[in-house]
């Protein structure tokens, strides 16, 4: 019970921290819309000239990218890896090590509170966007889809958090982790379905990508929401997603354990 109260407090701190820098927050939300509109323009022009692209009409393409916006606001970490890495580099985790906190859980609580606040605050914005594009929005027909979607988004959030956390852990061994973060980002950006739906890839390539963790961060939940998966594909997808949640979680925990053993509190 006491533990729960402790992490509830951490959750509250996370909320406050976000509010302190509210303008940074507003800026970030606002500028997420610019590329979205840009993308919509590009696909409109492409679809007008060519009719359908792969399995997508203009409408379904627009809805696809609206779903990208939705899933990213629910599940993508924004600054977590940078802050964790900075805490290690600058020796601030010393203060946390002496407290009765599990660092991984502490960080996860902060991540969850930030995501919750972000989603709540961007909800009006997302609602406006959805309303603006209402003719393209096609909500799922089955209620079960929503439950599966929620489950897959939770899986996506876990994978992304664990990956971000593991990357930040490398700061125990090397001083400059930003290059590694950006290298992983570049794969994530193009192979998660952020730029284009992954089923536009050639069959061989898309079968290969399906084994990497990236589609399960974005493309898989979206496919569920768009009701494009057969029951077999759905089951297969969830299996691979859970495997990646497990693997990335283990990696995060192991790296933390090893890292702390090496830690020398530089600068403190």
């Amino acid at each position: 019970m006491k533990t729960l109260a402790l992490y509830a407090k951490v959750f509250g701190i996370g909320l406050q921290d976000t509010f302190v820098y509210r303008w940074n927050f507003v800026l970030r939300c606002g500028f997420t819309l610019v590329p979205l509109l840009g993308t919509v323009f590009v696909w409109r022009s492409v679809c007008e000239a060519n009719g359908r692209v792969g399995d997508y009409s203009y409408s379904s393409m627009v809805f696809y990218f609206l779903a990208v916006l939705l899933v990213e606001s629910l599940a993508s970490p924004t600054e977590d890896e940078w802050r964790i890495a900075a805490e290690i580099r600058e020796g601030q985790i010393s203060a946390l090590l002496t407290k009765p906190l599990d660092y991984l859980l502490y960080r996860f609580t902060l991540f969850a509170s930030y995501r919750l606040l972000y989603t709540l605050l961007t909800l009006p914005l997302v609602a406006c966007v959805l309303y603006g594009f209402r003719e393209h929005v096609r909500w799922p027909e089955h209620a079960l889809t929503w439950a599966l979607f929620a489950l897959s988004v939770a899986g996506s959030a876990l994978i992304q958090f664990f990956v971000a956390f593991s990357l930040a852990m490398l700061a125990f061994w090397i001083l400059e982790v930003s290059t590694l973060i950006f290298i992983l980002y570049s794969f994530e950006y193009f192979l998660s379905g952020h730029v284009f739906p992954l089923d536009l890839l050639s069959p061989t390539l898309s079968a290969f990508v399906a084994w990497t963790p990236f589609p399960y961060e974005l493309f898989f939940p979206i496919q569920i929401l768009l009701e494009r998966l057969s029951p077999e594909k759905l089951a297969e997808g969830f299996c691979i997603q859970f495997a990646w949640v497990f693997l990335s979680g283990m990696t995060a925990a192991t790296l933390w354990k090893r890292g702390v053993r090496r830690y020398q509190a530089a600068g403190a």
């Binding site: 820098y21 303008w23 940074n24 927050f25 800026l27 970030r28 606002g30 500028f31 997420t32 610019v34 590329p35 509109l37 840009g38 323009f41 590009v42 409109r44 022009s45 492409v46 000239a49 060519n50 692209v53 792969g54 924004t78 600054e79 940078w82 400059e176 290059t179 590694l180 950006f182 290298i183 570049s186 794969f187 950006y189 193009f190 730029v195 284009f196 536009l200 890839l201 050639s202």
Partner: protein, 267 residues
């Protein structure tokens, strides 16, 4: 002016020495940039495996556009990007105070401290790519159009500079900086697409007020549309000049205002 050039030469030299003492980091950053560039080309490959054209642009024209976008972005990043992203940190910690007391223009000081050699190297990858795209399009640009292209690139770099400098200046009001970098990349990603796909108010705003669309589109048109009627491209060129000058003046004014309200940090 001469004095500023001399100071700049010293800064460049120092920065080069610094850069060469972190060789592994230099290689890793180059790798990061090459991966992002390759990713964009990959996207265009995927797109054109399904369609013939985007707007009135063919595949290799779009690839020349992406290459040009890379060239402009990398030149900007080589000379200014690092410095501009550090402005919020200078403001937050109060380190800006020291720079303000120097007997040179403060905008110059905060914009020019260091430069990225890896970005300069990546500019070359962009140039090679544009050259290859032109080869595939069977275009041999005349010296004239090459000169205009180069001039447009410089104007483009100045637009990138102004936008990022303007965004960084906002940190005097909003303090945390991560959102600013995000905003910069969001805006300039628009420049990778052919201008003809954009319409209405969106096109107006990003062609005139925050001219990120014209930045790479105008120079590419000078290369790919042979100068049969050179005058037809003149309005575009004028637009690029006007827009880049306009936004430069605007952010300079914003910077002056920001400094006037700056009250240092900590102490």
């Amino acid at each position: 002016m001469l004095r500023y050039l001399r100071i700049y030469a010293i800064l460049l030299r120092n920065s080069l020495i610094r850069e060469m003492s972190f060789k592994a980091n230099f290689l890793l950053w180059s790798l990061v940039e090459i991966l992002w560039f390759a990713g964009q080309i990959f996207f265009i490959e995927v797109l054109f495996s399904r369609v013939e054209r985007i707007g009135d642009w063919s595949k290799w024209e779009v690839l020349a556009l992406i290459g040009t976008h890379q060239v402009i972005g990398q030149i900007f990043q080589a000379f200014f990007y690092m410095n501009l992203t550090q402005i919020p940190e200078l403001v937050r910690t109060g380190k800006l105070d020291t720079l303000l007391t120097l007997p040179i223009d403060a905008q110059f000081t905060v914009s020019t401290k260091q430069f990225g050699l890896d970005n300069l190297l990546n500019t070359l990858s962009g140039v090679c790519f544009v050259t290859y795209a032109l080869h595939r399009l069977h275009i041999t640009p005349s010296p004239g159009s090459l000169a205009v292209y180069a001039l447009c690139i410089l104007l483009g770099v100045s637009v990138h500079y102004s936008v990022m400098f303007g965004l960084s200046t906002l940190c005097f009001w909003i303090k945390r900086s991560q959102g600013l970098v995000h905003a910069y990349f969001s805006l300039f990603n628009l420049g990778r697409y052919p201008d003809s796909v954009f319409q209405g108010a969106f096109r107006f705003v990003f062609s005139w007020l925050v001219p990120v669309i014209v930045v790479s589109n105008v120079p590419v048109r000078f290369l790919t549309q042979p100068l049969r009627e050179p005058l037809s491209l003149l309005p575009l060129f004028c637009q690029l000049c006007a827009a880049s000058a306009g936004i430069f003046v605007l952010v300079r004014l914003l910077w002056k205002r920001a400094l006037a309200r700056y009250s240092s940090a900590s102490s």
